[in-house]
């Protein structure tokens, strides 16, 4: 259908996007790669020679590395667990007949539109503050000692804040997927007298499998990169220093660019593992 002329026109239309993204990806990434093989301290003498893979070894060897990996896994895993399970339940609930369905959906989705610095600070001060936070009022109301959330239960607090932000995303996607489920299929199962639980296991869950995978992969990629929520709450203290935050501190706070860049390359590799999985699924979708 397309002529030769329209083909070259198409290529011309595509070129700016491709060139810009190529530059955006290659230039900084190449620089990071180069820095990662240097001893480079901008505030303390600048470039001090090539060091091979020393930064890579030192980044992994530092006492902060494994705790950061552990923190990252717990936060990402915890948020995924909460958002996916609650997301499935909420999606099923919101799919039921009720009054004011649209309004409830708006309420549930709202946290997703709150900027990360706002949700971080609102939770930190107005809810989790040990003196004046609403949760401490609640604890005292029941005669308990208020929890000092962000230091004594720091991980739980961060997981709670981030889950609150991402639950809407999981719910919305799973709800969209559920709504595409053939309601006749459910009705048939209902009429056959299949109990609720077995309907869930044998019809709803398999139908949701692909959407759940997508939620997990997309969220993982975004969750590995969470920054602002930690920046405005604990600043990485009390065991909440994730890999992203550790790299940020090495690069901008202690200005050890070589070391931080080696960490950055690790982060890129880690993100790419999940990105490849996601792209496989999305790519399959393109063929249909």
């Amino acid at each position: 259908m397309s002529t030769k002329a329209s083909r070259s026109a198409a290529r011309l239309m595509l070129a700016p996007a491709v060139i810009l993204l190529l530059a955006w990806m290659l230039v900084p990434l190449t620089m990071t790669l180069i820095f990662s093989f240097q001893r480079y301290l901008p505030m303390r003498g600048g470039f001090q020679g090539w060091v091979g893979f020393e930064n890579y070894a030192r980044f992994i060897g530092s006492s902060a590395f494994w705790p950061a990996i552990q923190t990252t896994i717990i936060i990402v895993g915890g948020v995924l667990l909460i958002t996916v399970i609650l997301g499935i339940l909420l999606a099923i609930l919101l799919d039921q007949p009720m009054w004011g369905q649209g309004m409830v959906r708006i309420l549930v989705i709202a946290p997703f539109f709150v900027m990360p610095t706002v949700s971080g600070l609102v939770w930190k001060n107005m809810f989790m503050d040990p003196n004046n936070g609403l949760l401490s009022h609640l604890w005292r109301f029941f005669g308990a000692d208020p929890v000092i959330w962000l230091s004594d239960a720091s991980m739980l607090s961060i997981i709670l804040i981030v889950s609150w932000q991402w639950l809407p995303f999981a719910t919305l996607i799973l709800l969209t997927a559920i709504q595409s489920l053939d309601s006749e299929q459910i009705e048939a199962a209902e009429m056959d007298g299949a109990p609720v639980l077995s309907r869930f296991w044998h019809i709803i869950l398999p139908h949701l499998a692909r959407a759940i995978t997508i939620v997990i992969l997309i969220q993982t990629i975004f969750l590995l990169a969470i920054f602002a929520e930690i920046f405005v709450t604990t600043q990485g203290s009390f065991g909440t220093r994730t890999l992203t935050y550790l790299i940020y501190q090495r690069v901008l706070e202690s200005q050890n660019v070589g070391l931080g860049s080696a960490g950055g390359i690790y982060a890129v590799i880690l993100a790419n593992i999940f990105a490849l999985l996601l792209m496989r699924i999305v790519g399959k979708n393109l063929d249909r």
């Binding site: 595509l14 230039v27 900084p28 989705i109 946290p111 001060n125 995303f169 920054f227 602002a228 405005v232």
Partner: protein, 276 residues
């Protein structure tokens, strides 16, 4: 075809769903309520709910004290600018891939997606350095360009999935009627593409407005948008709950409203068309 349910069951659903919905929405509601309280009422124990002396004092103080309007203006310029700039680049790209696909279209799309997965912290220092060299640090134009680039893959993808849905037969029919490329674009495709373009614009304004890695790390006093403005409340000003609430309410209100219009598009945009 609608599933028939008893009123009793429907009432129960309604009750549970509204309870959970309000619980999830509560932090936002509480922030909005607190923004109208005095500082003393804001930390009162037991908390005051609705019956307090509603005041606009906090909004006035926040605006006066921190030059709120400048941050707001920066947010508008950066979010709006990056979206417009991005659309100018994304529309032709998505258009050409949707209507003149080649063998490599799929690979290009997936590659674009992969650039979105690049962890920002991995390229933080190079971008920082480039910004210093080019004098872009703490400028709106610099941030506009970066936000345009990080959202460009989403824009292209989203537009692509919308354009893909425009049936090719319509184009052929138009061609048979003797329409040239100009008529084709102006009278046939544009009207059909506008809803998709509008949704893409909406989602990207939301994403750019809330972006909080580059906006925090590449700005200082001059170009800081609302994300950075709120971050300045980390301490100790954050302990003035009523002021924090007023500032937060102003920062999230425009996007909450836009967001409610874009629920469906959100799914398509953020799953790269994998869930519709």
């Amino acid at each position: 075809m609608a599933r028939s349910v008893t009123t009793q069951r429907k009432s129960l659903n309604t009750f549970i769903a509204w309870t959970i919905g309000l619980l999830i929405f509560f932090p936002i509601l509480w922030t909005i309520l607190t923004s109208f309280k005095t500082e003393a009422q804001a930390i009162a124990d037991p908390p005051v709910w609705f019956f307090f002396d509603w005041t606009l004092e906090n909004y006035r103080v926040v605006q006066e004290r921190s030059n709120y309007n400048r941050f707001l203006w920066n947010s508008i310029i950066i979010a709006g600018g990056s979206t417009i700039l991005g659309m100018i680049i994304a529309i032709p790209a998505a258009w050409s891939m949707a209507f003149v696909p080649s063998r490599r279209t799929k690979d290009i799309l997936l590659w674009m997606l992969s650039t979105k997965m690049l962890p920002a912290v991995g390229v933080l220092y190079p971008i920082y350095l480039i910004f210093i060299q080019l004098g872009l640090l703490d400028t709106r134009i610099g941030l506009t360009i970066v936000l345009m680039l990080i959202n460009l893959p989403i824009m292209v993808w989203m537009l692509y999935t919308y354009f893909k849905e425009i049936p090719g037969e319509i184009l052929e029919a138009a061609r048979m009627d003797g329409a040239g490329l100009k008529e084709e674009i102006l009278y046939v495709l544009t009207p059909m593409a506008i809803p998709g373009i509008a949704s893409t614009v909406l989602l990207n304004i939301i994403l750019a407005w809330n972006e909080a890695f580059w906006t925090l790390n590449l700005t200082a006093a001059r170009a800081a948008p609302l994300t950075a403005f709120i971050a300045s409340y980390s301490s100790p000003e954050g302990l003035f709950y009523a002021k924090l609430s007023a500032a937060s309410t102003m920062a999230i209100a425009p996007i909450l409203i836009l967001g409610w219009f874009s629920q469906k598009q959100l799914v398509r945009g953020l799953t790269f068309g994998a869930v519709k």
